[in-house]
């Protein structure tokens, strides 16, 4: 009997696992880019909207915002890129994987759960970062929109946003009963809240709509990125960070409680 026949305990093998995570991320990325239409729609949506809004109203102002709309839309659609990738598309993708039995097959492979989830998170983080970079480059090169003013806080906001919206995306995927319902349920919630939270037009602070959407993390990620991108005085990005992180904890809790590898077919 060789030593290789003896059961090895533990699901974490230290540094030797790092290449395996990188390899899984590579295949997650490959899977994303092998569907070029889906990839183009995911990546291109925020870019197209930046072009539309910047072209039509970048010099416009509203009396309750100390910046013009050109400086508003670029960080706002960077926030959209993060939320779309890490919440909307991720949640639909997770439901489809579960219902197709892909999660079950991976569960029955030697790939540890933590490695799979890490690869999924990194994969969607890469897609979110691509969108953010494209939007910022487009704003700077195409419309002379400059920022971020506070790079450290801006990046921190992005990281917390990606982590929290990924947790929420996984969380909401666990309550969607089947693949047919995934798109309508997730997208309805997402696009209504995105619109009400001020993605397409700034919502005046203190208004009833601002108060309502202030309970949700979407408005806080938009405001947090707009404020840190422009260095608007008198704002509190830490409060935004706290709300986003709290929702991330809720998402993680729901994910852990309701996670299922098997199709629900509900």
């Amino acid at each position: 009997m060789s030593s290789t026949d003896l059961p090895v305990k533990g699901s974490f093998r230290g540094v030797s696992d790092v290449p395996l995570v990188a390899r899984q991320v590579r295949f997650e990325q490959l899977s994303f880019w092998l569907n070029p239409i889906g990839a183009a729609l995911t990546i291109g949506f925020s870019v197209v909207f930046v072009v539309i809004f910047e072209s039509t109203s970048r010099h416009s102002t509203v009396n309750y915002l100390p910046i013009n709309l050109g400086q508003y839309y670029v960080p706002a659609f960077a926030a959209y890129g993060v939320m779309a990738a890490c919440f909307n598309i991720l949640a639909i993708n997770m439901v489809n994987r579960r219902e197709m039995g892909l999660l079950k097959r991976l569960r029955l492979s030697p790939l540890p759960t933590w490695m799979l989830l890490a690869a999924i998170f990194i994969n969607w983080m890469i897609i979110a970062i691509i969108q953010v970079v494209l939007v910022l480059l487009l704003g700077r090169l195409g419309y002379a929109v400059h920022g971020p003013h506070d790079v450290g806080l801006f990046v921190l906001m992005l990281i917390v946003g990606m982590l929290s919206f990924t947790a929420m995306g996984v969380g909401i995927s666990t309550v969607v009963p089947n693949a047919d319902a995934a798109g309508p349920i997730v997208s309805l919630v997402f696009f209504i809240l995105v619109a009400l939270s001020g993605l397409y037009f700034p919502v005046k602070a203190g208004s009833g709509l601002a108060t309502f959407t202030g309970f949700f993390p979407i408005r806080h990620l938009i405001l947090g990125l707009v404020d840190t991108f422009n260095g608007i005085p008198g704002t509190s990005p830490w409060n935004d960070l706290l709300v986003i992180a709290a929702w991330g904890v809720v998402g993680a809790f729901v994910s852990l409680r309701r996670w299922d590898w098997s199709p629900k077919r509900g």
Partner: protein, 335 residues
């Protein structure tokens, strides 16, 4: 009964060979609903073992517990010598088992080669991707996307994903469901080759011919428990029950003039039902030689596995309906 001990995981504990699978009084319930009841069986290394039963009998639940995918409610289970519910050894265990799921589960945008390459990377000693592509007969489709494969080709790819890790123990959950006859035969050939190479196979099926073609031993699951087990040729007393001796009635001979009681069936054939086929054949062939008759189409037909299966399951259903179910939990195991 084959009981190879030369497999790559031929581990021994206190001098005894550890079976590939050991199940004792396994139970699984979901609230008040019983999915598996007091199931016991063993699968020896190198053996092809079939769990036969209708839909809802508990086959998939049993296999999923053995794979470590589902927790059990009671009983003892060991897969390749470890408890599959023990999270600390699950990663190790999953490097040694292969699984073919009941339903297709392959990403649609990967090519055949890409998905096999990805999964090969999960295992310490995988088969070569090209070897598996050849084994599953998809060489010409290796660079096609999975979504462009036919249902049967996707099913074969699923089998390929089950064997890519070069497993010691392969779980096949209804592996030929959805395949055409030639696809079934090819899959059977593949399973036979794997078994000949020392891979232990545990398959679930509701096809009798699949059991006859592949299994060294079979257990019949019905109503969430095992109602019988044995070899396909002996299960349910198949090897000692009545047989039918059949031949064409010679010209000029009447049924009444035959040396043993017989009855005329359709098409001019004679059928003799007996549990003493040796004596009947002796009397019959002796008479034919003495009288100079040819017994054209002479054959001895044993009761089919399907008949045995239906008898076992209908009997168990009747006993259950009468509330006098006397089937011993896990009875006949290892007989």
């Amino acid at each position: 009964m084959p009981a190879s001990t030369s497999g790559r995981t031929g581990r021994r504990e206190c001098g005894a060979v550890v079976p590939a699978v050991s199940v004792e009084h396994l139970s699984k319930s979901y609230g008040d609903s019983v999915a598996v009841r007091e199931v016991s069986f063993e699968v020896q290394k190198g053996e092809v073992f079939a769990l036969l039963g209708p839909n809802g009998a508990g086959k998939t639940t049993t296999v999923e517990i053995l794979e470590g995918f589902r927790d059990r409610s009671g009983g003892r289970v060991h897969t390749l010598g470890v408890d599959p519910a023990d999270h600390s050894t699950q990663r190790w265990l999953r490097t040694r088992i292969g699984v073919v799921l009941q339903e297709l589960a392959v990403e649609p945008y990967y090519s055949v080669r890409q998905v096999l390459t990805r999964n090969a990377g999960y295992y310490p000693h995988p088969r070569s991707v090209e070897e598996v592509i050849e084994l599953i007969g998809l060489a010409e489709k290796a660079d096609d996307r999975v979504k462009r494969l036919s249902g049967g080709q996707q099913r074969r790819l699923d089998v390929g994903l089950g064997i890519i890790g070069n497993p010691d123990l392969l779980f096949l959950d209804e592996p030929t469901t959805g395949l055409d006859p030639s696809g079934r035969r090819e899959t059977w050939d593949l399973i036979r080759r794997l078994a000949a190479g020392g891979t232990t196979v545990l398959l679930t099926t509701h096809y009798m011919d699949e059991v006859e073609a592949l299994a060294d031993r079979v257990a019949v699951l019905f109503g969430q428990e095992i109602v019988a087990s044995g070899t396909p040729s002996s299960i349910g007393g198949r090897d000692i029950g009545a047989v039918t001796v059949r031949f064409r009635l010679p010209e000029g001979v009447t049924v009444a003039s035959l040396p043993v009681p017989a009855e005329l069936s359709d098409g001019g054939h004679v059928e003799i039902h007996t549990e003493d086929e040796v004596r009947v054949l002796h009397d019959l062939t002796g008479w034919a030689l003495d009288e100079g008759h040819a017994l054209q189409g002479l054959s001895v037909l044993r009761i089919s596995l399907e008949d045995i299966y239906l008898g076992l399951t209908q009997g168990a259903a009747s006993r259950r309906a009468e509330g006098s179910d006397t089937a011993e939990p896990g009875q006949g195991v290892g007989q």
